[in-house]
């Protein structure tokens, strides 16, 4: 199954993550990775979600819905973010290795 990546730069408000996650749930997307963090700009956070993508149409609808949210400043999507995805894979690999070592001990 293909994967879709959405990166949203959002205003820091405590409801914004709830809103985005509710959207994913409503559109029945399964989250593979979720990364939220501060940016260099005060009061702006970056949310990156990797989802299992069923159809291109469904994914495009999700992107439009994310763009529509009031706190969302702008959105990047899709394959141009391959780099981010690769980084996620690395982090995952790194962490699972650590966990495995820990369990063996």
């Amino acid at each position: 199954m293909k994967k879709g990546t959405i990166t949203a730069f959002v205003q820091n408000q405590n409801t914004v993550l709830t809103r985005l996650m509710a959207l994913l749930a409503k559109h029945q997307f399964q989250i593979e990775s979720l990364w939220v963090g501060c940016t260099e700009v005060e009061d702006v956070s970056k949310v990156t979600v990797i989802v299992k993508e069923e159809t291109g149409h469904k994914f495009r609808q999700l992107v439009k819905q994310v763009e529509k949210q009031i706190e969302v400043l702008f959105v990047m999507e899709g394959t141009d973010l391959q780099v981010v995805e690769e980084q996620f894979e690395l982090i995952k690999a790194h962490n699972s290795a650590k966990v495995l070592v820990h369990l063996k001990e």
């Binding site: 609808q61 819905q65 400043l73």
Partner: protein, 575 residues
């Protein structure tokens, strides 16, 4: 800030005692937004706000249930075009609003909803009457806020009104913890809306309009499908000009009714599940479908696989996320319906000869109109709506719930101008219509307002009857009484082997005595003659009245696109 606004604020400050806490700030902000009516219900977490309201000239309508308050606010918003404002307490007060919030979200109605919340130091402790209102309303609001410090309140209120009423309208909720509202606060003179992530569209891309005009110039079977977006944008006049300039036939969605005059020769009728044959066949046969402010809801499209199979689809919508959502769109035009139609009117498309297309549709109109049978024994519900139309000169504000009576009203009450039709479309809410009629009457005190309700739906919000007496609102409540949940019964009859599971009431209240106990005149009719006589006497009165209209309990709504079928496969068409 505009100089005018600054002056307005200064004048408020100059003329009134500013005691300087959040509750007073709240009232001042409402005044600045021009709020005249508040629909609400008090409770523990909003005692302070109600105390501030005590001294204020803002009219407060005390509903008897929060659901009644919010549906009334929806009716007010639908008719006036201004945001309906609701105030309720925390916990159960707020949860009772949820149906109305979801309803307003689906039908794009501007609402600003204020809920009290438990004091901030006990938030998250399951305190008395605590509920996570922001959490539970997130998926059903255009936006929502919880106030964290009182200094933010004026900005949040300004933003709430701005968001609710601009772009695609919708409900915005503001949750205010009790302690914050009581905090001392200094009124702000300079309030800035700061919403970099919210830039509602106005003008459209000229290139998109150009492509649309080219497609129009090449079309020999064009059709306009006009939705409620036309009403929200106040673009009825532009729609009429556009249609007349190129001789374009117009079909409406359920919520769009009134956007184009029903008596106009180019009007085909309502499209969709219980729409008219002509409109549905026009969609099925057209080669260019111009959707203006409709969202291709499943009740409109029927089976998507056979929807508008020969058409290039153009879609004008203020909400870009609607374009291409359900139906593949070849000509997207994102923008406000009025702005786009104005741009269209400023251009010229090649005029096509549409004579044979229009004649073809005319034949459909003549051969397959809405039809119903009338019996000696019963009052026909369709005839009932025709008589309401006759005795209100076709110009009443008509409100409904969802179901059979709603479809008959949509089919038989021919609306000739905008904002007369108040119905729960997207969410399909029983109990919506009667309180909505109260809000509509408050928005237009001089208008004739008819609340058409089913006997089922009416029993969901009938406690608001007292408001008719209390505020002397001359709403005419017509209960289209078939002793059952008509649409459920119809589907059980048609698709569930006539097993009428829980859809027929074995016992009903005496609606006349009920109305009398609220001090409202009431009548019962069961024949056409009785309807004719009574409507002539009471529908133009300036007094509220309730009429229990006993209609044929076996009557079904036709024609119909059965579930899963295409628009061209209507059943129950006149033969």
């Amino acid at each position: 800030m505009e100089a005018k606004e600054a002056l307005a604020i200064l004048s408020i400050l100059a003329t009134e005692e500013v005691t300087g806490n959040g509750e007073d700030l709240f009232i001042q902000s409402l005044k600045q937004e021009g709020v005249e009516i508040l629909f609400g219900y008090p409770g523990g977490a909003v005692l302070g706000i109600y105390d501030a309201l005590y001294k204020s000239p803002i009219k407060h309508i005390l509903a008897r249930h929060e659901q009644g308050a919010i549906h009334a606010a929806e009716g007010y918003a639908r008719v006036s075009g201004k945001p309906g404002v609701v105030l309720a307490t925390s916990g159960p007060g707020a949860t009772n609003l949820v149906t109305g919030i979801a309803d307003a979200m689906m039908d794009s109605l501007p609402l600003v909803i204020f809920t009290g919340q438990v004091a901030s130091h006990v938030l998250g402790t399951d305190a008395f009457q605590e509920a996570d209102v922001v959490g539970m309303t997130t998926p059903i609001t255009k936006h929502n806020y919880q106030v964290k410090k009182i200094g933010d309140l004026p900005r949040i209120m300004k933003e709430a009104f701005h968001i609710a009423s601009t772009g695609r309208p919708g409900p915005v909720l503001v949750d205010i913890p009790k302690d914050l509202a009581a905090d001392p606060a200094v009124p702000l003179l300079k309030i800035e809306v700061d919403l970099p992530g919210y830039q509602p569209l106005s003008d459209s891309d000229p290139l998109h309009v150009k492509h649309l005009m080219e497609a129009l110039g090449n079309s020999s079977k064009p059709l306009i499908l006009a939705g409620a977006g036309v009403l929200h944008a106040k673009a009825s006049e532009e729609l009429l000009l556009f249609s007349e300039r190129y001789n374009l036939p117009v079909a409406h969605t359920l919520l769009g009714l009134g956007g184009f005059p029903a008596e106009h020769p180019l009007f085909l009728g309502m499209a969709g599940m219980h729409g008219c044959y002509t409109a549905n066949m026009a969609i099925s046969e057209c080669d260019l479908l111009i959707n203006i402010g409709a969202r291709f809801d499943d009740r409109l499209t029927g089976n998507l696989a056979s929807f508008a199979p020969f058409a290039k689809v153009a879609h004008i919508d203020i909400d870009p996320s609607e374009i291409g959502k359900n139906v593949e769109t070849h000509l997207p035009v994102a923008g406000d319906a009025k702005a786009v139609l104005t741009a269209i009117l400023n251009q010229r498309a090649k005029n096509q000869d549409l004579q044979s297309w229009l004649e073809h549709l005319e034949n459909y109109k003549r051969d397959y109109p809405y039809w119903h049978t009338e019996t000696e024994e019963f009052l026909s519900p369709q005839r009932l709506i025709e008589l309401v139309h006759k005795h209100t000169n076709g110009d009443a504000i008509v409100t409904t719930d969802v179901g059979q009576h709603q479809m008959w009203a949509a089919q038989y009450y021919a609306f000739s101008r905008p904002n007369r039709w108040v119905t729960s479309g997207g969410l399909g809410t029983m109990g919506f219509g009667f309180p909505a009629a109260i809000g509509a009457q408050l928005a237009e005190p001089e208008a004739a307002v008819v609340s058409l309700a089913g006997d089922g739906g009416f029993q969901m919000t009938l406690q608001e009857l007292i408001l008719l007496k209390e505020w002397n609102l001359p709403v005419k409540v017509l209960i289209v009484n078939n002793g059952s949940l008509g649409m459920v019964r119809q589907w059980q009859e048609t698709f569930y082997g006539k097993r009428f599971s829980q859809s027929v009431f074995s016992l009903q209240p005496d609606f006349l005595k009920l109305a009398e106990s609220y001090g409202i005149k009431a009548y019962r009719i069961s024949t056409e003659q009785e309807a004719e006589t009574l409507f002539g006497e009471v529908l133009s009165d300036r007094e509220p009245v309730l009429i229990d209209c006993r209609v044929n309990p076996a009557e079904n709504v036709y024609p119909m696109v059965a579930p899963g079928k295409g628009l061209h496969e209507m059943i129950g068409v006149k033969t």
